[in-house]
């Protein structure tokens, strides 16, 4: 199985599109290396703005640039874009409804040993509360390429976050998706696992483990976090006996709570959230996933416990 990082899938697709469409611009914050934008800067220097380590200016500048008819992608580590520039995201992008795509990379615990200054465990929560933003987290390179093209074709503000490392593909090349609609990775009737971003592959594997144990698990890739596919959550409530959510984010205010918000109104099924605590220990991303239970084994065990209790 090919292993490609979402950030590389994003930048290679962006470059490909920007070569054909001079209205597509990229902005970086001394982050062209970490975002993997170096090729873009060399090949299309006139469609690139380097802001230096100045996220507030980068996001405000992106809003201004978009007001002159440009299709602007402002990029950088998610931990800084989603926190340092939060007011610019709120006012200059969300409130003003500017055509700005904010793409944060190396999100969640991607940076691992760099520590808690570099984790992004708050962005689903903080961005969800801002009016006007579409929020998405792709699960693999295939979905990232699709999402990048979709963003370029869809006017209005987006916040998209992706990880740093290579990820195994969840989908075959050419798979199609619909914004705002959960992608059914596999169908099932006993329990539903709702995941997003780079946790989806673990949810998919969990379903395989559960299948071996005679449990039929539905896996939904909720890559659009806002607007959330409430219908898919309601269907899970009606058609299965429990929901497990999985996210590389604090369990406060993220995917789990967004799902629970819908499920609570129906009150049919229990919802169990797997995610990160308020502060994470230091370790490699893979070690942290394992430690905090974002693993096929733990997701499967959690799902099984939920429906047999």
């Amino acid at each position: 199985m090919a292993m490609v990082s979402c950030r590389k899938a994003f930048t290679s697709t962006l470059l490909e599109m920007a070569k054909k469409d001079s209205s597509i611009w990229a902005i970086a914050t001394d982050s062209r290396g970490s975002v993997t934008l170096s090729d873009f800067t060399k090949e299309l220097p006139d469609q690139f703005v380097e802001c230096g380590i100045a996220e507030q200016n980068a996001v405000g500048l992106a809003a201004g640039l978009s007001k002159t008819g440009k299709n602007v992608f402002v990029t950088g580590p998610a931990c800084f874009l989603a926190a340092r520039a939060y007011e610019q995201v709120k006012v200059d992008v969300g409130y003003n409804k500017t055509n700005v795509k904010i793409v944060g990379v190396s999100a969640g615990v991607s940076y691992g040993p760099l520590g808690c200054t570099h984790t992004t465990m708050h962005d689903y929560a903080s961005m969800r509360a801002l009016p006007g933003l579409t929020i998405a987290a792709p699960s693999d390179a295939v979905q990232t390429r699709w999402l990048t093209k979709l963003m370029a074709e869809t006017p209005g503000p987006f916040y998209v976050r992706m990880g740093r490392g290579d990820v195994e593909s969840v989908y075959d090349e050419g798979e199609t998706f619909e914004l705002g609609k959960a992608k059914t990775v596999c169908d099932g009737t006993d329990v539903t696992i709702i995941a997003c971003g780079e946790t989806v592959i673990h949810a998919k594997r969990a379903a395989e483990l559960l299948s071996e144990q005679g449990v039929s698990a539905r896996v939904l890739d909720m890559f659009t976090i806002k607007p959330l596919d409430a219908e898919a959550v309601k269907a899970a409530c009606m058609e299965t006996r429990g929901i497990v959510t999985v996210e590389e984010h604090s369990t406060l205010g993220g995917l789990g709570e967004a799902v629970a918000h819908v499920a609570a109104e129906l009150a049919h099924v229990p919802v169990k959230m797997i995610g990160l605590p308020e502060e994470v220990i230091i370790g490699k991303s893979s070690e942290l996933f394992e430690y905090y239970g974002i693993s096929a084994d733990n997701i499967a065990a959690t799902a099984k416990n939920l429906i047999v209790r």
Binding site: G60, L65, E87
Partner: protein
């Protein structure tokens, strides 16, 4: 026909006074100090017809000191962006005319109000326009208290890096902010040297002189962004308010209203 910018500015100030007094809202001190800049821009410097049409090569104006919205609204209404009667909806239930400009108001390029946002947006606009529409300029009007926001200095650096000679920053230097003097709250001096060190061509200009401002606003130095330190008086137009920090956000009493009105009407006559 040569317009009397000074007279126009005092006429607009009278409208501001009524908005603030009638609706018990607004930031009258800063609105009075920056009015001559707004009048110079909208009556002399910018091609307002292009702005009305939304032409891609139009000049852009950003009121980064968004709390002086009522001054901006009187100018926009007088220039026909919306009916003058709408000024009387200032801050009322369901209005677009909030105490800070909303994006729904005709003529407003971007909603502002959180300080330190206008210049980064203006820098983005200037980058976007520079090659495609070299004759279009971007004007960003900021407060002097606002200069304490770090995002402005990030944007100053970017403006110089990208040699944005189509960008004009105007700083309404009335030397007062809500808590008191700018030099006491967070010293800005030597401001001119700072801006020059950041790569700007700097002009100090009597900011309550519309003609002088118009001349400064049309200055261009190839390869350099322009900063105009508009030396103004907070509450300009009436001794009741002039150079007094509490008038940043104060509402006149009935007696003060009458006195300010007399002062402004006299200024209109004498202009």
């Amino acid at each position: 026909m040569e317009l009397n910018l000074r007279k126009i500015a005092f006429q607009r100030r009278l409208e501001v006074l009524d908005m603030v007094y009638n609706h018990k809202s607004g930031h009258i001190g800063g609105s009075m100090s920056c009015m001559d800049t707004l009048v110079a821009l909208y009556y002399k410097v910018m091609d307002v017809d292009k702005i009305h049409r939304g032409d891609p090569d139009r000049d852009r104006f950003i009121l980064s000191k968004g709390h002086c919205a009522e001054a901006y609204y009187t100018v926009l209404a007088d220039k026909g962006f919306f009916p003058k009667e709408e000024l009387d909806t200032f801050t009322v239930f369901k209005t677009h005319l909030a105490e800070h400009p909303t994006y729904k108001i005709p003529g407003v390029e971007v909603a502002t109000g959180a300080l330190g946002h206008g210049l980064p947006i203006g820098v983005g606009m200037a980058i976007g326009l520079k090659k495609q529409y070299p004759n279009a300029s971007v004007y960003v009007l900021m407060g002097d208290g606002e200069q304490a926001e770090g995002s402005i200095w990030e944007a100053y650096m970017a403006a110089a890096k990208y040699k944005l000679d189509n960008l004009v920053c105007i700083i309404d230097r009335n030397k007062l902010q809500i808590s008191g003097g700018t030099e006491e709250v967070m010293p800005l001096e030597n401001f001119e040297d700072k801006l020059e060190a950041f790569g700007f061509h700097v002009i100090k200009c009597p900011g309550n002189d519309g003609e002088a401002m118009a001349e400064a606003l049309t200055t261009r130095v190839p390869g350099k962004p322009l900063a105009i330190i508009a030396e103004t008086i907070k509450g300009y137009g009436s001794p009741v308010m002039e150079d007094k920090a509490p008038w940043h956000h104060a509402i006149p009493t009935a007696e003060q209203y009458e006195e300010i009105k007399r002062d402004l009407m006299k200024a209109v006559e004498e202009a």
